[in-house]
């Protein structure tokens, strides 16, 4: 399986660990990456808000740089990059005028892009749906049993439409983490936005949003929150301390990438998985996992029916 790889700006800074561990996981799973040569920033949410056409042209340059024959699919590990690449491709396909204008702009740099040529994928999507849970299971050398991992998807994996998972009730990461053997509670806030750039604009607003998410995870006794987007990771990790001082709380929830915990289950050395890059320490989580009795795959006894209790409706099959 060979894909184009679009690391995104965060990979060079804040989310270095995500980029590195993704490459490690990919290698283990037999996914081959071809990094786009001389890629540029996707413009995040900022460029689109101010000037639409240059914003599309900015993203389209990346698509144009891909050799579509060789790698007709591009992977973005960052949700914002993923949505921008996907949106640009789709809107160019849908609106003829936009397609023409973007291509006129690209021509100024001797490039061109035909919409539909390159399909944009999120790394989580590729791992779960192209590689598949069965193949992941085969690569596992140890289970993550004993750890309560709360999957947090953020906003873009299922939105605005026709993305790889449900906009309100995504399941991909839940299934992945369950495959790895972890306890995965049903986190009701898993698609609530992390606040994005609000940390830069209004501390009050962003800390309120982050506190909500952390509280939700805390109530589920999370050993860690698992993410697939550098922005989510940054906000929840770097501002956790600020949340604690603003709300007099004491959350100590490490925010880790799904690629990092996959590495654990694949038997990679925690050192190389760069958990120490997180501001909130992952030490407690790792210790808990190491000391968890392998046999303690808590044999949940079937709870006896409380004779007073009313039956619960079944959950909808996903």
């Amino acid at each position: 399986m060979k894909y184009a790889w679009y690391p995104g700006c965060s990979a060079e800074g804040n989310s270095f660990a995500y980029d590195e561990t993704s490459r490690m996981i990919a290698e283990a799973l037999g996914i081959e990456f071809q990094e786009i040569d001389d890629w540029n920033c996707c413009g995040a949410t900022e460029y689109f808000s101010v000037n639409q056409l240059p914003a599309y042209a900015l993203v389209a340059r990346n698509l144009a740089l891909i050799n579509a024959e060789e790698t007709p699919q591009v992977i973005a590990p960052c949700s914002a990059c993923y949505i921008n690449l996907k949106k640009t491709d789709e809107k160019m396909a849908k609106y003829e005028q936009l397609n023409t204008e973007v291509n006129v702009a690209l021509a100024a740099g001797n490039l061109s892009y035909e919409p539909g040529a390159v399909k944009s994928r999120h790394f989580l999507d590729v791992v779960c749906n192209d590689v598949g849970y069965e193949a992941v299971k085969e690569k596992m050398t140890q289970s993550l049993a004993g750890l309560t991992l709360v999957p947090y998807y953020g906003c873009y994996m299922g939105r605005p439409e026709d993305n790889f998972d449900h906009p309100e009730r995504p399941q991909t990461m839940d299934t992945l983490l369950k495959t790895l053997g972890a306890d995965v509670p049903d986190y009701s806030l898993k698609t609530i936005c992390c606040g994005g750039h609000m940390t830069q604009l209004s501390a009050e607003a962003s800390l309120r949003i982050l506190r909500h998410l952390l509280e939700g995870a805390n109530q589920l006794n999370a050993d860690a929150m698992v993410v697939g987007c550098p922005m989510c990771q940054l906000n929840l990790d770097a501002y956790q301390k600020d949340v604690n001082s603003a709300y007099k709380t004491n959350y100590q929830i490490p925010i880790v990438y799904f690629s990092q915990v996959m590495g654990l289950a694949f038997g990679m050395d925690p050192e190389t998985l760069m958990f120490e890059r997180g501001i909130v320490s992952s030490k407690a989580m790792l210790e808990k996992w190491l000391t968890a009795e392998p046999a303690s795959k808590k044999r949940r006894r079937r709870e006896k029916r409380d004779k007073n209790a009313l039956p619960m409706p079944k959950q909808l099959e996903s």
Binding site: S188, L189, N308, A309, L310, P311, M312, K314, L316
Partner: protein, 665 residues
């Protein structure tokens, strides 16, 4: 030949976009036209009299009416012709309303198109032949499908008039959704108290054959003469022997969640009656959960039955019945609240659906009428009722489900009544109370202290952010009247789920040859003037199968459908299709293409003469055989090649004439 042309204004419906006087004047100059008129409303009695008088005065032998769709008024104008002594098939309509004035804004274009359509009809009507309508006797038996309140009402009306009814119900008992309800709005009558006598009457009526746990598999035939195949599923109970004592049910060791009658809030046994007042009184054995059928063990019911009524060997029965008319009243499905994950139904124990709450407040329900949380013990101090769940939302159902506002108000009342200290919030977009006594009921709830928050609830969560929110469900919504996002902590949330077409309405529609609308509800012949008839003669619809509606309206429709059936039975005969196919014996080469193409097996091949012959009683007039015949030996009366081609040529010639381009003949 003397033709009369009548152009209808339809008030401003046609005259607004079509210059009707101009069309009339233009038509007057066409070949064979003896008289051309325009009139405000051709379908009015004065309009019809105008045609009748002209037929007599001018000696008209052909009539063209340019007005609305023939689906609306073809029979009206055929009637006018007939009264004036003209064969009704000498009339042709031009549809200049639905197909012209209503869909084109440009008056010039509308007028030109109308001219072409009138010319086409005139050209065609000249070729019409007089057809004689044959009559067939009507079978006096009626099939009613669906034993909810609409079906029960329809069946009783007909049975009380002295005619026989087969009442078919899929579930083990009749009663439908109404039997699940506790109180009925706005009068708060006890649902079971008013329904049970009707169920009992239907179950014991000498003119009603009750077939529960049964489904219609196939329908053949036509109005007055349907042949119906019904599968009566095996209950594994000998109905002759069973006394309905309930001992089997009591002793059965298998208990399963009852997703149908108890809406998932309670349990039933593997051998069960849905509820104590079930009609008929016999239980059924649910084979999917019975240990005997699954594992070959148990047979406890058999041991305890005092009358040896358990029959594990019983098999499905197939019944073939003949009926003259059919009423389809198959009801609705409740919207599945799990489809909206942000409301947490199925995730948070204390989120309930409307039907669950109905069962909860019912004294005969799983909690004996106590309003409690999912633990079955604790009592809520605050309750949120969320309106429009699955309704008024293009992602699910765009329509308003019509009953949710009222039942949400009823729920609020029930909580006030049972838990006077509890706070009750209703989250609504608009309160809709348009029927007798409904608005007054809303006012009553305002006085009872229900807190109304105008805003569609955005989500329900269990993540507490304040001490007050701890252990609660938090409903987030915008209170649009103050323009603020609010988080309201409650102990219980009730989702007022909307009404949907039955999941299998498409297959049911196919079985009975009726059409469905885009939401899956059965389509009525006319939304205003013919609400219980369908496009298929002799098949009627009633109740929520036609669209979301409440009990009074379902009852009214059941009765209305029964009245329509009774009028057909009373008349005793129905018009047969006059426009049937006929084989020209002289030219038929006996190739049998028509025999293969006929969907009704209405064409016989006569071996001895090597000719095809149409059985006119079976022919429905589709004309497929005509198009298939290579020697042009079959005619479909009233849709002959000459007639259709004359209509087409008339239109084309008029168009070229209007263009001002002369064409070679």
């Amino acid at each position: 030949m003397k033709k009369g042309v009548y152009i209808c204004h339809c008030g401003s419906n046609i005259a607004g976009t079509v210059d009707v006087e101009e069309v009339s004047k233009w038509a007057d100059d066409l070949e064979d036209v003896a008289i051309s008129r325009d009139y405000k409303f051709m379908c009015s009695s004065l309009g019809q009299e105008l045609i009748e008088k002209d037929i007599e005065e001018y000696g008209l032998d052909r009539v063209v009416v340019a007005s609305c769709s023939p689906h609306m008024h073809e029979s009206t104008f055929r009637g006018a012709c007939q009264r004036a002594g003209l064969n009704p098939y000498f009339m042709e309509m031009a549809n200049i309303r639905e197909h012209c004035s209503w869909v084109h804004k440009d008056k010039e274009a509308g007028t030109e198109k109308s001219k072409a359509l009138v010319a086409a009809a005139l050209s065609r009507v000249g070729h019409h032949e007089p057809l004689v309508i044959q009559y067939a006797p009507v079978d006096k038996n009626t099939l009613v499908v669906g034993g909810g309140i609409a079906g029960i009402q329809a069946a009783l009306e007909i049975a009380n008039s002295g005619y026989h009814v087969y009442l078919v119900e899929r579930e083990p008992s009749i009663g439908g959704h109404m039997s699940q309800l506790d109180k009925t709005f706005p009068t708060l009558d006890c649902s079971a108290c008013i329904l049970t006598p009707r169920m009992f009457e239907a179950g014991n009526h000498e003119n009603i054959t009750l077939l529960t746990y049964s489904e219609v598999e196939n329908v053949d035939g036509y109005i007055g003469n349907f042949e119906v195949r019904i599968r009566k599923r095996a209950r594994a109970i000998d109905e002759e022997a069973c006394t309905g004592c309930g001992l089997c049910e009591e002793k059965c060791p298998i208990s399963v969640v009852d997703d149908v009658f108890e809406a998932g809030l309670g349990y039933r046994k593997a051998v069960y009656r849905p509820f104590p007042q079930a009609v008929p009184k016999y239980p059924v054995i649910d084979r999917e959960n019975c240990t005997w059928y699954q594992k070959g063990k148990c047979r406890l019911c058999e041991k305890v039955c005092p009358t040896d009524a358990i029959d594990f060997e019983q098999e499905d029965e197939i019944l073939e019945v003949k009926v003259g008319n059919i009423i389809v009243a198959t009801g609705y499905d409740a919207f599945d609240a799990r489809r909206i994950p942000q409301y947490g139904y199925g995730r948070y124990p204390n989120v309930f659906t409307g039907l669950e709450f109905e069962r909860m407040t019912n004294a005969a329900g799983p909690t004996t009428g106590k309003v409690v949380l999912r633990d079955g013990v604790n009592v809520p101090e605050s309750v949120a009722i969320i309106h429009c769940v699955g309704s008024r939302d293009k992602k699910y159902n765009e329509y308003c489900s019509a009953v949710c506002c009222m039942y949400s108000l009823k729920f609020a009342h029930m909580v006030h009544d049972k838990l006077p200290d509890a706070k009750v919030y209703n989250f609504y977009i608009d309160i809709r109370t348009p029927a007798k006594g409904y608005e007054e009921f809303y006012h009553r709830l305002l006085e009872e202290g229900t807190i109304f928050i105008r805003g569609r609830a955005a989500s329900i969560s269990d993540v507490a952010l304040t001490v007050e929110e701890e252990g609660k469900l938090i409903v987030t919504a915008e209170d649009t009247l103050i323009g603020e996002q609010r988080r309201i902590p409650v102990d219980m949330a009730i989702l007022s789920t909307g009404l949907e077409a039955r999941h299998d309405s498409q297959e049911v529609a196919r079985t009975f040859s009726i059409s469905i609308d885009k939401n899956g509800f059965f389509r009525e012949r006319h939304p205003k003037l013919d609400p219980v008839a369908t496009m298929t003669g002799g098949v009627f619809i009633a109740g929520a199968a036609q669209g979301p509606r409440d009990i009074p309206s379902s009852v009214a429709q059941g009765a209305a459908a029964a009245a329509r059936v009774l009028s057909i039975i009373d008349k005793g005969e129905v018009e047969m299709e006059a426009a049937t196919a006929e084989v020209n014996d002289l030219t038929c080469v006996g190739c049998r293409m028509c025999v293969i193409s006929c969907p009704y097996e209405a064409i016989d091949y006569l071996e001895d003469r090597q000719k095809a012959e149409v059985n006119r009683a079976l022919c429905k007039g589709c004309g497929t055989c005509v198009a298939a015949c290579p020697s042009k030996s079959i005619t479909l009366h009233h849709f002959t090649d000459q007639e259709l081609m004359a209509q087409m040529t008339g239109a084309m010639n008029a168009l070229f004439e209007i263009d001002g381009v002369l064409m070679p003949a």
